[in-house]
């Protein structure tokens, strides 16, 4: 009767089972530990390594970049969700600083301080700095945000658990929680446009060409020309975030 049920002996059953289980265990041990970690320095390959330049002297504060970003990326219209926005810094004669950004600059700026009191005033367009040592990717507990080999900081919405650690970690305030999905959203440098060979929307739309974008590894690129010809600075250099958003004529007041 026993033999009719199965020809397998108990010993064979355990033997085959052990082979299958052990095979999977060995396979998993081989495949999952081959991670490449390059978070601390840029890859030394020949691939693209994107950088951004913004010329504060040229920015006229029209807010078209902030508007274009919202339209291209379906960012909620409410005035507190931005991937890209513009701030107006006004330094008064008495040394106090006023920073304004009504609706991120989309509806334009109204001068709120009379001319006599102003020492200087300028616009600062802001967006994700796409840092090479980004604090936001380092705090993610589930590996849902990361730097691509091309130097773009992205969020994996399928993996994000919406814990908001990265929102707090970003020293530039460039992340927000999308109200519809509950996951973190941020500038992707319009990676869907880059793939098609187009410029990101805010660079495409800037009327004064104050925004420059290109491959830092390519010595002939527009961004390298911009960096060579201007005295450029990043925001909060003391944090050593490896920011790749370079501003020309950046005042030390900008935070």
């Amino acid at each position: 009767m026993k033999n009719n049920k199965s020809n397998l002996s108990r010993r064979d059953f355990f033997k085959n089972g052990a082979i299958i289980v052990g095979g999977i265990a060995v396979a998993s041990a081989i495949t999952t530990f081959d991670s490449v970690l390059f978070a601390l320095e840029p890859p030394k390959g020949k691939g693209k390594w994107y950088g951004i330049g913004i010329d504060i002297n040229k920015c006229i504060g029209c807010g078209k970049c902030a508007n274009a970003c919202k339209l291209e990326n379906n960012v909620p219209k409410e005035p507190f969700y931005f991937r890209s926005w513009v701030e107006q810094y006004t330094i008064k004669n008495d040394g106090t600083i006023k920073v304004e950004s009504p609706n991120g600059g989309i509806d334009g700026f109204q001068q709120s301080i009379p001319d006599e009191e102003i020492f200087k005033s300028f616009f600062v367009p802001k967006m994700c700095n796409h840092c090479a040592k980004s604090p936001c990717t380092q705090v993610c507990p589930v590996g849902a945000t990361f730097e691509t080999p091309e130097g773009i900081v992205l969020v994996d919405p399928n993996y994000c658990i919406g814990c908001r650690y990265c929102v707090q970690a970003c020293p530039y305030g460039c992340r927000y929680v999308h109200p519809d999905t509950g996951t973190v959203d941020k500038c992707t440098l319009c990676i869907h446009r880059l793939k098609k060979g187009l410029q990101p929307a805010c660079f495409e739309i800037c009327p004064t060409e104050a925004r420059i974008f290109g491959d830092l590894n390519d010595l002939e690129s527009k961004i390298n020309y911009f960096l060579k010809n201007h005295t450029c600075m990043v925001i909060k250099p003391h944090l050593n975030t490896g920011s790749k958003l370079f501003y020309n004529a950046l005042s030390s007041e900008v935070r």
């Binding site: 265990a25 041990a29 107006q88 334009g108």
Partner: protein, 169 residues
């Protein structure tokens, strides 16, 4: 080896094997290929709808406006700066040969005073701006409260385009 140690070792060995199997099943395949993340997420981020077409696509049909604009101070402005995203407009333009696109595909015409004022409203932060491209001229700034023309009958503010051609200001 004592019996209880053997049991303990085999127990931990089973736990380790179970852990490795769970790992294999639960962690996505592309996780760890490029770093501590799902490599597939890059291509998933790349799949999104585009909205801006680029001004080269505009000039295919509207070349006369392009030539007109190229002679004026607005020559470095791309069409979509004022008219808004136009990829759908350019994609479906061929299907309506008679030139009558449905309203949903028509682009925005910025004729209101506040839309010109976005760039040209007087502001202290705009005064020192010099352009490399247009013989170092300053951006024209107006005080929208003072620089205006009233309709003689209704006393309403006239639109900027009453006097200024936006394609050749």
């Amino acid at each position: 080896m004592p019996q209880h140690l053997k049991r303990l070792i085999s127990f931990f060995a089973i736990l380790l094997i179970l852990f490795l199997i769970m790992r294999q099943v639960l962690i996505p395949k592309s996780f760890g290929q490029l770093g501590h993340y799902r490599a597939d997420a890059i291509s998933e981020n790349q799949v999104r709808e585009l909205h801006y077409a680029g001004s080269e696509n505009c000039t295919k049909c509207h070349d006369s406006i392009h030539i007109e604009k190229d002679e004026g101070y607005h020559k470095q402005l791309k069409c979509e700066v004022c008219h808004g995203p136009g990829l759908k407009h350019t994609q479906y333009a061929d299907k309506f040969k008679d030139g009558h696109l449905p309203d949903s595909l028509l682009l925005h015409k910025p004729i209101e005073r506040k839309e010109c004022a976005l760039c040209h409203q007087k502001n202290a932060a705009r005064t020192k701006i010099l352009f490399d491209t247009i013989d170092n001229t300053m951006i024209v700034q107006i005080d929208a409260m003072k620089h205006k023309l009233l309709n003689k009958k209704t006393k309403e503010e006239q639109k900027c385009i009453k006097c200024h051609n936006p394609h050749q200001p």
